[in-house]
Symmetry: C2
Subunit: 158 residues, 2 copies
DNA sequence: CGAGTTGATGGGTCACAACCCACTATAGGG
DNA sequence: CCCTATAGTGGGTTGTGACCCATCAACTCG
């Protein structure tokens, strides 16, 4: 039998396409998966990038602070920090004022890596948002930011 | 030590917030998780809703067609159809023209359920998109739809 | 100086999505 | 009438994200 369609077309139900949240979920997941693939090529995960970004943006800080900021499980963060440190992207040092705390800071290698990862993320974004022109992307970004701020009580990882 | 902030604030790194894809991913995931919770209260999963929606929108069809349309694994669909049939939301009948195929159709109960689920999805959407007025939601929906159509080659589940 | 608290860590569990393979039944072409 | 392809099904594996608990070390307060 002749295949009705070269690629399956995946014509999704209007009932779902009508939900912004459905589109949000699908598109967001696609973007996340795509970026995750690129990170995986470098032996990294999404959390690694998030931690690097937090350190680059907010400076050296204790894991404790990263835990609060990123809403990540302390135990999981310990593992991420471990791998990043082993790879030379961050340095860990006991806080002399409070020797329980481990202060984490990005190295130059880490900063360089982050720049690369950002470029990857931008590339994925360009691919995903291809149908939109610069102005539309701006509008989208602004709307998403408003949505994000308006509901900061979401907790939730990533 | 006084807690600097009642709720942890989760002040995320600008490096990430600047990425629309990051926001897309976070917001989309939050919406999906929230809806999934509501479905779970009814003993259902997201795929159940997707299958019901596809059947309601496109009418009775063989599992084979659902597989192509929704890009779901045949084996997984079999399990979903099984549960939906057991709960009385769909009916399965051998296609008389091709007895390999199993034609699936929604029952009245299934249609009623879907209406309920849609209401749940709308409720979640209202909560998530709370910061936006009707006009802005319209704009967002349109942008997301364009993004979605522009990149139909994503495959990928949900 | 205890007693309770906090930060970090290691070692798990649990749920779930995606995927894959083997097997049966049916269809259809040579 | 075989042979191959297709539809559905059952029984898995794998990877991952979130979470949880026990433990150790270090701080703080009484």
């Amino acid at each position: 039998m002749a295949s009705e369609n070269p690629h399956p077309a995946a014509e999704l139900p209007p009932t779902l396409l009508d939900l912004s949240t459905y589109l949000l979920s699908r598109i967001g997941r696609a973007a996340r998966v795509r970026l995750a693939e690129r990170l995986a090529e470098r032996g990294l995960r999404l959390w690694d990038m998030a931690v690097l970004a937090a350190l680059a943006d907010f400076g050296p800080q204790a894991q404790r602070d990263l835990v609060r900021r990123l809403a990540i499980d302390p135990s999981d963060l310990a593992k991420v920090a471990d791998r990043l440190a082993a790879a030379g992207y961050v340095e860990r040092a006991r806080d002399q004022a409070d020797r329980r705390r481990v202060s984490v800071s990005v190295t130059d290698a880490g900063r360089a890596l982050l720049a690369d990862l950002e470029a990857q993320a931008r590339a994925v974004q360009d691919a995903v948002l291809a149908p939109l022109d610069a102005g539309e992307r701006q509008v989208l970004q602004e709307l998403l930011l408003r949505v994000h701020h308006g509901t900061g009580e979401w907790c939730g990882g990533l």
